[in-house]
């Protein structure tokens, strides 16, 4: 009997472990013709109502409509009589806005200051403070500003900036380029057009050329570049990143007979149209200037896209002369315009360009895109006035909001920062993740509450380092620079070497993107749980002889156990403890002194609340 019980006990756990360990992001096909992805969110959640402290006193009375986002979101809920969550508490809001805008959790003093602030405009103000990088000309090369680090990391993940692919120098320069573009809030259309038209003798000399160089496709021998595969990849990735349409399928075959159930728009597209689209880059030659290594020249040299050249990636092409035509409308280059200039102009001026950008930012801050997955648009399902045939439905949950965000983005000179601020300042963004009352799956598509999601690998590591105040140097390859936060790394290759072994393992366990085939994942697994419960990284950082804990325990005058407890709560979960929590924490410190304080910090790092952005 005993062994049987034992078996079941483990069975319950061990099978879990294969459920999500190592899970990669799933297919990019939006294969759901009837409902939005947002509607799927939480569809099976039945238990509702968090017992997190509600700090009622600080909750705004009614939900104020702060901007046009709220008019659409709350207007629709009002019209359909959908109840929604209360506005988030100050503590809930502050942790969220810090994580979303800067990738870091707030410091204890930032929480105290914000909660104590009586100004009615304090939320708007903190959003501006966190977003607006101060340009210090002296430090312009690497101004440390968490907002810039976080969003540079975001775009470098998107563009898969990696030393393994474009060399350490190329990677650093590309990072610098993105960082500077964000620092100066360069209009997004200009930023993108510059990357698409960059020309250089070496990507180790030009950051903007990183995007194209990154898409080099090696030939079968692994040294020469397959020109045709490369330019197809450039066309496919740039169309995906900047127009939100995934052309991978039509790169091998026509959409007809394949994509009818997956993407209505693409089911009418032909492989030849992809070739025409790609041939805007037919004149680009990307090659290893020195024959070996990851240093690439990106030049306009080769006359055209030659279909006769064999593919090492896709179904073989067949011979035919191809001249450029933009896939979305068949537009041809103008007289006197280079092909790449034409492509950049057409891409950035297409209405889908702004829509894709705002949807991507929305998705990153709201967890789910208005169109979701955010880079899988079906262009035949965008217009509510011209709905697709059944069983398809209009793809965006709020088409008018997507258009409004896009127009606003264009009107504000393609400022990404403006979009982020506008979203963050809306009450829609500031709703609580908790929902009072009976939650129904249907509410999800209304954004009737904020959606919680796991901290990314980098966010989590940084949160652990900051909460414990135990940091380790992360040397940036190819520079003399050492950084403290994972979000400041140029790519995962910076976490090499013995000293960072534990950090590297943690980041891998929590689904860090390797910027190659392995995509970023927010899925959970038992391996992750075991890392937080029992890894050397956690056990070492919660020790009483270092970091925050040492400072608190050795403070002069001595801090009360209650005060230590409060400080640990503020520095990890970003809120004051409840009375009972304060009592539990203080009692643990009272009973075990230093060990008890370690226990408390360990427990806080293991609280679900710590691991999630909610």
């Amino acid at each position: 009997m005993r062994s049987r019980a034992f078996g079941w006990l483990i069975f319950a756990g061990a099978t879990c472990f294969c459920a999500a360990a190592g899970e990669k992001a799933v297919s990019k096909h939006p294969a759901n013709p009837s409902g939005s992805a947002a509607a799927e969110l939480d569809e099976l959640t039945s238990r509702v109502g968090s017992r997190l402290p509600k700090s009622e006193a600080r909750v705004t009375e009614s939900t104020h409509r702060n901007n046009y986002i709220d008019e659409v979101i709350f207007g629709k809920m009002e019209q359909d009589r959908i109840p929604h969550a209360r506005l988030s508490s100050d503590e809930e809001f502050l942790r969220r806005i810090h994580l979303d805008l800067t990738g870091r959790i707030p410091l204890p003093e930032q929480v105290r200051k914000f909660v104590a602030d009586q100004s009615p405009h304090k939320r708007d103000r903190i959003i501006d403070e966190l977003t607006d990088a101060k340009v210090d000309p002296a430090a312009i090369e690497h101004p440390s500003f968490p907002f810039l680090d976080r969003w540079t990391y975001f775009f470098c993940d998107l563009f898969r900036n990696a030393a393994a692919e474009i060399g350490v120098k190329g990677r650093n320069l590309f990072w610098d380029y993105v960082h500077t573009a964000l620092l100066l809030d360069i209009p997004y259309n200009r930023f993108v057009a510059e990357m698409l038209t960059a020309t250089t003798l070496s990507n180790w000399q030009s950051g903007a050329s990183g995007l194209l160089a990154r898409n080099h496709a090696d030939d079968a021998d692994g040294l020469a570049i397959n020109h045709e595969d490369t330019i197809e990849d450039i066309a496919i990735t740039t169309t995906r990143y900047f127009l939100g349409v995934n052309l991978e399928c039509v790169a091998c075959h026509d959409g007809a007979g394949h994509l009818e159930k997956i993407n209505l728009y693409l089911s009418h597209k032909k492989r030849e149209e992809l070739w025409k689209h790609a041939s805007f880059f037919g004149g680009v030659k990307i090659y290893r200037a020195f024959g070996i290594g990851q240093e690439f020249a990106v030049l306009d040299e080769k006359p055209r896209f030659d279909l006769k050249y064999p593919s090492v990636k896709r179904v073989q092409r067949y011979t035919r002369d191809i001249s450029p035509a933009f896939l979305f409308n068949g537009e041809l280059p103008r007289e006197g315009e280079s092909r790449r200039q034409a492509y950049a102009r057409m891409l950035t001026s297409h209405p889908q360009f702004a829509r894709t950008a705002v949807n991507l930012i929305w998705s990153e801050m709201m967890d789910v895109g208005i169109v979701d997955p955010p880079l899988d648009f079906d262009l035949d399902r965008q217009d509510p006035k011209n709905p697709p045939p059944l069983p398809w439905t209009v793809q965006p949950t709020h088409p008018e909001l997507l258009d409004a965000l896009a127009s606003d983005f264009v009107a504000h000179n393609y400022s990404l920062r403006h979009v982020m601020k506008t979203i963050a300042k809306s009450s829609a963004y500031q709703l609580s993740a908790q929902f009072d009352g009976q939650w129904k799956p249907d509410y999800a598509r209304y954004w009737a509450r904020h959606f919680a999601r796991r901290l990314s690998a980098e966010q989590l590591y940084d949160a652990i380092a900051q909460a414990t105040d135990v940091f380790v140097d992360i040397p940036i390859a190819g520079t003399a620079e050492k950084v403290k936060y994972a979000m400041q790394a140029r790519d995962p290759a910076d976490f090499s070497g013995k000293a960072l072994e534990n950090v590297r393992a943690l980041l891998a366990d929590f689904g860090q993107s390797n910027r190659d085939q392995g995509e970023k994942s927010l899925a959970s697994s038992m391996v992750q749980a075991s890392a937080l419960l029992n890894s050397a990284l956690i056990k070492n950082r919660v020790k009483a002889d270092r970091g925050r804990l040492k400072r608190l325990l050795k403070a002069d005058p001595l801090l009360s156990n209650e005060a230590i407890t409060e400080e640990l709560f503020l520095s990890s979960v970003g809120r004051f403890p409840t009375n009972r929590e304060k009592h539990i924490g203080a009692a643990q410190i009272q009973e075990y002194r230093e060990t008890g304080a370690e226990d408390l910090l360990w427990s806080l790092l293991n609280k679900t609340e710590f691991l999630f952005n909610h």
Binding site: L9, S27, H29, R504, L522, A523
Partner: protein
């Protein structure tokens, strides 16, 4: 097509995972494709219950190991000897222990790869299909297919995950390939033996751990985030699962590497992984497929230079100790019905491709070469002590494939051999993938080349 039969996929795993009780094994049916249909029944060997795939990451040089070619480049201390009554020439200086284990090993020298770039070739090796950008995320690996097929043989007392991968992290390339469009619970448990094995709480820390767990419970009881999102509920289930795993004595023994044993396995990450693989298989508690990556074989430069951290000597030494001891232990250990474990465990050892031959390159290394490489097979019904296939004098081209088909052996054939040995009908197709493209476990075609795929029969007779 009706709405219900359209697989619904989103970019976030948690959206597709059903409600969670204490254990996510009891998830609601996945909204993911899993119907698998057999075209016609393949004839299956069924000689093995388990499989260990030892992946020589980067591509081992065939002519410096098991398809040895002597030349002016050969360092004298490779100590070339003819072993096992003239069966083959071996660099005894590099592989002394395995030279004594040839009775267990079948050496296949007629293997060709389809790809010569790491990322693509490694994907191919794991999935037995060419990587396709459009289908990349939906194609399950061989390991996931084995895990899927072995579900039917899972006993209620089984507590270990079916598919375990070791030391194949996120270093680049394709990385470990998981369940694709199959149920996410078929994803591998990924362990890194170089990092801590976090499932094992050291005895000395047990009290601290229990005290902390209790405190965490109290704090979670007081304030917790519930019902806020599915991902949180999933995560809590994983926490409970991890904790029960850590409490179980049996598991901590399985996942423990004893210092004394490390030495017999060559004191390397590969050796450690082989110890864990042995323990996982010997427990006979649900683990069916173990994929171990042995990194470093991509010796483009200074291949014979002993002053470099990775070279032909160090890598061979690691492989020699780990694989030899694994074979020894598996033949010593018995299954519950008293069969030597090795007889029930198919071991495959190979890289993603071979390496260039003759003199070393200007960089004193060897580059990628897809037209000839060597694979080792052992256990699970394989008859050892033999060489199958022959390359030309340089070791660069297959001249005699050594099996029934008049062509070299490809990844597809190796997959068929593994599936057949495990009694898995490889003739099946997953028809309702998200892209709508059917996924055959093994496709009789690579690119545009028709391939009459088959088991490497001579291994077993």
């Amino acid at each position: 097509m009706t709405q219900a039969s359209v697989p619904r996929l989103t970019r976030r795993g948690f959206l597709t995972v059903g409600p969670v009780g204490v254990s996510c094994f009891y998830l609601a049916p996945m909204l993911r494709p899993q119907n698998v249909q057999a075209g016609s029944l393949a004839s299956l060997r069924g000689s093995a219950e388990y499989c260990i795939f030892l992946f020589l990451n980067g591509g081992a040089s065939q002519i410096d190991t098991f398809d040895f070619k002597e030349g002016r480049w050969t360092p004298p201390d490779f100590d070339l000897r003819t072993v096992k009554g003239g069966m083959m020439k071996m660099p005894f200086g590099l592989l002394p222990r395995l030279a004594g284990k040839l009775d267990d090993l079948a050496v296949v020298r007629s293997v060709e790869a389809w790809e010569a770039g790491h990322s693509r070739a490694q994907f191919y090796l794991q999935v037995a299909h060419p990587i396709s950008p459009a289908r990349r995320n939906e194609m399950p690996s061989i390991g996931a297919v084995i895990a899927y097929e072995m579900q039917a043989r899972r006993k209620t007392s089984d507590f270990l995950p079916p598919f375990v991968s070791m030391n194949f992290g996120t270093g680049g390339g394709a990385g470990i390939i998981g369940a694709g469009c199959l149920d996410p619970k078929l994803n591998p448990l990924t362990l890194d033996t170089k990092a801590d094995l976090n499932f094992v709480v050291p005895e000395a820390e047990r009290r601290t751990f229990d005290r902390r767990w209790k405190l965490l419970g109290e704090l979670e009881q007081e304030t917790q985030v519930t019902g806020v999102s599915r991902s949180i509920e999933d995560y809590k289930a994983h926490y409970a699962g991890a904790h029960s795993m850590m409490l179980a004595q049996g598991v901590s023994d399985i996942l423990r590497i004893q210092e004394g044993e490390r030495t017999t396995y060559g004191s390397s990450a590969l050796g450690d992984a082989c110890i864990l693989a042995r323990n996982l298989i010997a427990a006979e508690a649900g683990t069916r497929y173990v994929f171990i990556s042995h990194g470093g074989w991509d010796l483009h430069a200074n291949a014979y230079d002993k002053s470099k951290p990775l070279n032909q000597y160090t890598l061979c030494h690691e492989l020699d100790g780990a694989l030899e001891q694994l074979l020894t232990d598996l033949s010593r250990l018995r299954t519950k019905d008293r069969t030597p474990l090795l007889d029930k465990t198919l071991i495959v050892c190979m890289g993603e491709f071979g390496r260039t031959v003759g003199d070393l390159t200007v960089n004193k290394g060897r580059d990628h070469h897809r037209f000839a490489s060597t694979s080792l097979f052992a256990g699970g019904g394989v008859k050892g002590g033999r060489v199958i296939g022959k390359t030309d004098d340089a070791g660069a081209k297959v001249v005699d494939a050594g099996w029934g088909k008049k062509r070299s052996i490809y990844t597809e054939d190796i997959a068929v051999t593994m599936y057949s040995a495990l009694g898995i009908d490889w003739n099946k197709t997953i028809t309702n993938t998200p892209s709508g493209r059917s996924f055959q476990y093994v496709e009789p075609v690579s690119g545009t080349t028709f391939l009459d795929v088959g088991e490497i029969e001579p291994l077993f007779v």
